[in-house]
Structures are given as structure tokens and as C-alpha cells.
């Protein structure tokens, strides 16, 4: 049996004085798995990702990421775990506007010595290699301001940034929702290829159920989250 990367048991979370958002009896992602988590907006997926990324802490239950008990860790230890081992891709506006394309890709290395080490001596070269693998090899393109890139290009830069320094878990929150079908499929194919290459696990969240076949496993958040059932189910 392969090593779990994310292990959730009896996880419950509610915003201050709000209704319960998450109540997940069990959920797990194993090493090397590419999991598709389907969840419509409002299903608590952003909250779940926040918990896995360690920016939120659960009220009860256990959530283990890379064998670390997130409830037991201090906020700064959770931050360090994310910095060292987790890559994050957002839906859009992923890039820091005042950094170059490679500057954006290299950003995680500024905050994590571990990933700096993993990226090797030539971090710049590693960034270019990743960008080239994701179809962004053009020098002219790399020189452009990130705000001048197309959304698809921006998302691939974000993917390269999530991948640099070989993190063990990649979290992608609706990274393709702003892309057309062609760009979307190509993006997922490239991302999957890279993740397989590095051996990282991928947790890919989207509302678009048609993407499910592109992953090793698909999970419906509405099915595992009992809080939504209690609150009347998802839309």
C-alpha cells in the first residue's frame, strides 16, 4: 500500500459562528495519485484546500498532510510545511505583477531553502526547463510582463511555479476554468505529465465533471462532505 499524502478523518470546520462548512468522515490521497475533486462553488472546496495547505486549522477531527498532524502544528510550522512541500495553482491572477516570468517561477525558492536545494544549483535553468516542458520556451515570451501573457500562458507559468523544487503535493484550485477546452486539456495533460515525472501527488479541484477521466481517481466533494448534505446539499 502506498504512502498517504493527505489523510482526513472526521474533519469538521466552521467559520466563526457560521454553519458547518465541512464534515468529512474520511478522505485520502496517496503518493503519486492524481485526484480529481469535483465540487461546485459553495461546496466548501476552497475551505478544504485552505485546510490542506495549512492556512486554516480544523476545529475537530484529524488532517494529516505528509505525515504531519496539521492540528498539532503551529501556524508557522504549517506555513513551513506548505513552503517546503506544497505547490499551489489558483483559478486566475496567479502571478505577482512586478516579477518577470522566471521571477514568478522562482518565487517559492525565496521562501524555502529545502525547495531551493531541490531545484539544484542552477535554479534559473531549472525554471526555464520547467517552462519549456510546459510549452513556454520562447525567449521573447519570457521577457514580457506577466500581465501581457494570455490566461493560458499565465496558468502554465503558475504550474511551473508550483512544480519547481519538487514539492510532494500540488494543489490546483479550478486552474482551467478560465481556459477554453483545447487549452484546458493541453494544460491538464502537461501538468499530469510533469507531476508523474516528479512523483508528486496532485489534488485537482474543479466544478467541471467532464474532466474526471483525465485523472487517476475522481471524488465528489458533495458525496464525502456530510455538512453539505445536512445543509440541504449542493446546488
Amino acid at each position: 500500500m502506498s504512502q498517504p499524502v493527505i489523510e482526513i478523518e472526521q474533519l469538521a470546520f466552521a467559520w466563526k459562528q457560521g454553519p458547518q462548512v465541512l464534515d468529512i468522515p474520511v478522505f485520502r490521497v496517496d503518493a503519486g495519485e492524481r485526484v480529481f475533486l469535483r465540487g461546485p462553488s459553495g461546496s466548501g472546496k476552497s475551505t478544504l484546500l485552505g485546510l490542506i495547505a495549512g492556512v486554516l486549522a480544523p476545529q475537530s477531527g484529524t488532517i494529516r498532510v505528509l505525515d504531519e498532524d496539521m492540528r498539532a502544528l503551529s501556524p508557522s510550522k504549517r506555513d513551513r510545511l506548505r513552503a517546503d512541500h506544497v505547490g499551489v495553482i489558483f483559478q486566475m491572477f496567479n502571478l505577482v505583477p512586478y516579477l518577470s516570468v522566471t521571477g514568478n517561477v522562482l518565487l517559492p525558492l525565496r521562501f524555502s531553502p529545502a525547495r531551493r536545494k531541490a531545484a539544484g544549483g542552477d535554479a534559473e535553468g531549472e525554471a526555464r526547463r520547467l517552462l519549456a516542458r510546459l510549452g513556454l520556451a520562447d525567449e521573447g515570451l519570457l521577457a514580457r510582463r506577466v500581465s501581457d501573457l494570455s490566461v493560458g500562458q499565465q496558468q502554465r507559468v503558475a504550474a511551473a511555479r508550483a512544480l519547481i523544487g519538487a514539492p510532494r503535493l500540488i494543489i490546483a484550485d479550478e486552474p482551467t476554468s478560465a481556459l477554453d477546452a483545447d487549452a484546458r486539456d493541453r494544460f491538464i495533460a502537461l501538468l499530469s505529465e510533469e507531476v508523474t515525472c516528479t512523483g508528486a501527488s496532485l489534488l485537482f479541484v474543479s466544478h467541471d465533471a467532464s474532466l474526471a477521466p483525465l485523472f487517476t481517481r475522481a471524488v465528489d466533494l458533495a458525496a464525502i462532505n456530510k455538512a453539505m448534505v445536512a445543509a440541504g446539499g449542493s446546488r
Binding site: A83, D84, V88, F93, N94, V96
Partner: protein
């Protein structure tokens, strides 16, 4: 830290427009403060440089500042004079090396006239031991010769040979109150010194006596003008009184003893002051206004610093997304904090550097003009300790002030987590 510094720098470059404006605001406030400070220290230096080489100034008892004011700065007037015999007694003291008596009280078109001896040109020193030098002509030799200061020559357009009519008292010349029957001739013009010497008309002590023949009652005798010049020249023109005496000692070590001896002089009461001491006292009086000015310009710096605060605070909202990207890529809350503090510090540092450069280039360009036209002395030279202190203080204060938006951003980024909706 260097990683965050380069990040802060890139972030500032991204907001060039507003950042440059903030830097300009800080630079102007720093330049104003330093300009005031340079003018102040220049004034103090000029003050201290007004007289040197003179060990004691002796006059009738008055306040020490007052004696300094009228004898050196030609301001105000003496309430009493020193009689000639007393002067001779002091001059002959064994511990005194030289004396220069001066007689004040007349003026020429707003410039003070000072009667003195030729020794004045040898013994009066300014600016740490510089002697008076002539731009043209020579010291007075004839009874009706005059040596004028640089400003007198420039403002009145006088050259060697120009006739000069002195005026009795200090008022403007009006008919009948002057010494127009005893015209003088300019024989020498002094080089600029940046001291009250520039604004003085120097004549011999005897000349002062000569022009007052017929004025013994304090007002002009109607017959005064009828006394022919040859007759005056034949009179004994030794003055009856002098206004003040500059004195140099044989040995500097005796200064306090000599001063006490003069202050407790039997017979005519006298007062001796040490110029440096009196200058310091006078500076204390005048520096209050300058300190107030300095305080005001310090507040202007505070305003400049507040502009850093507002510019960063107002940018925070549009940078929320950026903060959550930084958080997602591994930045911890203290990274966010340090990033914003560094941005504030960089702006303050750059503003101070630009301000210092601005004030130094302005001084380099304007100081000679100001000095020549208005006699305002600026302390020149390469950036010094004061500039360094201001640079440090402004940068430090900016870093401190940066903590306000930095805390706000840090708290907000914690609440936002990874999910900022735009």
C-alpha cells in the same frame, strides 16, 4: 532578507509613479530640514569666525553681549566710553602685548564709521586667524583718509579716491547734521570677510576728533564750518575717549587674571570680555529662533514620512491578491510584514538620499551667490555627520512607520488565507 529586499525593490518599481512622488515629498522635506540646518551651522560658524586673535575686548561696564554687539558687530551703541588716560593705562600694562582702540558713533549712508589705529589692520583677525587684506589701495595715512569694507564699496560703488562725507550719529544724512565740510577720501578697500568689517568705514581716531571740532556741546556749532582745515590739522587731535579697546596678551595664560584686574580697575570702572565667551552667550540668545525654525522643518519631515504611510496604506487593497500569492508560495506572515516595512524603508532612504543630494547641489550653486549678495554663510563641503544622521533617522523612522501598513497587511493576509476573491 536580501530575497525580500529585491522583492520590495521590484514592487516599488512596479508602482513607479506614486513611489517617485512619495520620494519627492520626502526629499523636499529632508532638503528643507538640512537647508535650515546648514544655514544655522553656517551662521554659527560665521558668528564664531567674526573675531579671532583678540584676547579681550574692553569697554565701559555694560552687558558682555552688549559690548560685543557694539564693538564687533557694530550694533547698538555704547552707553559710556573709556577715557583716553585709562586707555593709555591699559595699553601700558605689562601683561598686554597690543591694544587697538576704536571709536564709534558716526555713520556713512547707513554704514558705521569706526575710528581706529593702523594696528587694527594688523591685529584684527577673523575666520580662525585670517588677517584683513586690501583688494585695492592702502591703509589710511592722511587725517581725512578712509578704508572701506567690501560691502560698502560694492553697494555704494566706491573706488579708491571717491570722496566720502560722514554723518553725525547713526541716522540718515540730512542737511546740516553731517560732516560735509570735512570730506574724506577712500584710500583703501578691504577684501570681503563675511564679517561686520565688510560694512564698516574705517578712519583714524584723530579723524573722528577732527570732524567733531565744533560739536563739543553735542550739537553742531554754527561756527564749526568756519574753522579752516589747516587750523584743525594743527590742533591736538588725540581723542578724549574711545568706545572700546581690542587687546592681545603677552601670554594667553594670564587671561583670567588680566580680565579680573581690568574689571576691578581702580578709578574708572571698566569691563573686559573674552570674545569667544561673549560670542557663545550671544549665540545662545539668537539661536532660539533658529531652533524654532529647525523644529518646524523637523515637523515637515514628519509630514514627508506620513506621505510614505498613506501611499503604502492606500496600495494595500489592490495588493491583497499579491499577498495571498506570496502566502501560497510559502511566504510566512512575517515575510509579508518585512516586505512592507522594507518598502517603506527603501522609500524613506531614497527620499533622504535625494534630499541630501538636492541640498548639497543647491548649496554648491547658490552659496557663493548668497554669501556675496547677502552675507549669508552656508557651511559647505562634502556630506558630513549631520547628513548621515538625517539619512539614518529618516530611514529608521520610515521603517518604523512601515510597521503600520505592514501589520495591517499581515493581519489581512492571515484572514484571507489563499482565497481572495476579486
Amino acid at each position: 532578507m536580501t530575497a525580500l529586499l529585491s522583492l520590495a525593490w521590484a514592487s516599488l518599481l512596479n508602482r513607479k509613479g506614486s513611489v517617485v512622488l512619495t520620494i519627492v515629498a520626502v526629499a523636499l522635506s529632508v532638503a528643507l530640514f538640512l537647508g535650515v540646518e546648514k544655514a544655522r551651522s553656517g551662521a554659527r560658524e560665521g558668528f564664531g569666525n567674526t573675531i579671532s586673535g583678540t584676547d579681550l575686548i574692553i569697554g565701559a561696564p555694560t552687558g558682555s553681549v552688549n559690548l560685543l554687539l557694539y564693538s564687533v558687530f557694530r550694533m547698538g551703541s555704547a552707553t559710556a566710553e573709556v577715557s583716553w588716560p585709562t586707555y593709555e593705562k591699559i595699553a601700558s600694562r605689562p601683561d598686554i602685548a597690543w591694544t587697538v582702540p576704536v571709536a564709534l558713533g558716526d555713520s556713512h549712508r547707513g554704514y558705521r564709521v569706526m575710528g581706529t589705529t593702523l594696528g587694527y589692520f594688523d591685529h584684527y583677525k577673523y575666520g580662525g586667524g585670517q588677517a584683513l587684506t586690501f583688494a585695492g589701495g592702502q591703509p589710511f595715512s592722511d587725517l581725512f583718509d578712509a578704508v572701506i569694507g567690501a560691502e560698502v564699496a560694492r553697494e555704494l560703488g566706491y573706488t579708491v579716491g571717491t570722496p566720502v562725507v560722514l554723518n553725525h550719529g547713526l541716522g540718515a544724512a540730512d542737511l546740516g547734521s553731517g560732516h560735509e565740510n570735512r570730506p574724506f577720501r577712500v584710500t583703501g578697500i578691504l577684501r570681503p570677510t563675511g564679517t561686520p568689517v565688510d560694512r564698516t568705514v574705517h578712519v583714524s581716531l584723530e579723524a573722528i576728533t577732527a570732524i567733531h571740532v565744533g560739536w563739543e556741546t553735542g550739537a553742531k556749532n554754527p561756527l564749526a564750518d568756519t574753522i579752516p582745515e589747516e587750523m584743525i590739522r594743527s590742533f591736538d587731535l588725540t581723542p578724549k575717549t574711545v568706545t572700546a579697546i581690542f587687546a592681545g596678551l603677552e601670554r594667553k595664560g594670564t587671561i583670567l587674571t588680566t580680565r579680573r584686574a581690568i574689571n576691578t580697575n581702580r578709578g574708572e570702572p571698566l569691563m573686559a570680555i573674552i570674545p569667544g565667551e561673549a560670542l557663545a552667550e550671544l549665540w545662545n540668545v539668537t539661536s532660539i529662533a533658529e531652533r524654532a525654525l529647525l523644529a518646524v522643518s523637523a515637523f515637515v519631515i514628519a509630514v514627508g514620512l506620513v506621505s510614505i504611510l498613506t501611499s503604502i496604506l492606500s496600495s494595500l487593497n489592490e495588493r491583497r491578491r499579491e499577498m495571498s500569492i506570496l502566502r501560497a508560495t510559502g511566504a510566512r506572515p512575517h515575510h509579508i510584514f518585512v516586505l512592507l516595512v522594507l518598502e517603506a524603508g527603501l522609500v524613506g532612504f531614497l527620499g533622504a538620499v535625494v534630499g541630501i543630494a538636492l541640498v548639497h547641489s543647491l548649496i554648491a550653486v547658490l552659496a557663493p551667490i548668497l554669501q556675496a549678495q547677502y552675507g549669508v554663510a552656508f557651511s559647505m563641503g562634502a556630506p558630513g555627520l549631520v547628513d548621515l544622521a538625517v539619512l539614518g533617522a529618516v530611514t529608521g523612522a520610515s521603517l518604523l512607520i512601515g510597521a503600520v501598513p505592514a501589520l495591517a497587511a499581515m493581519r489581512r493576509s492571515l484572514a484571507d488565507g489563499l482565497s481572495v476573491r476579486l
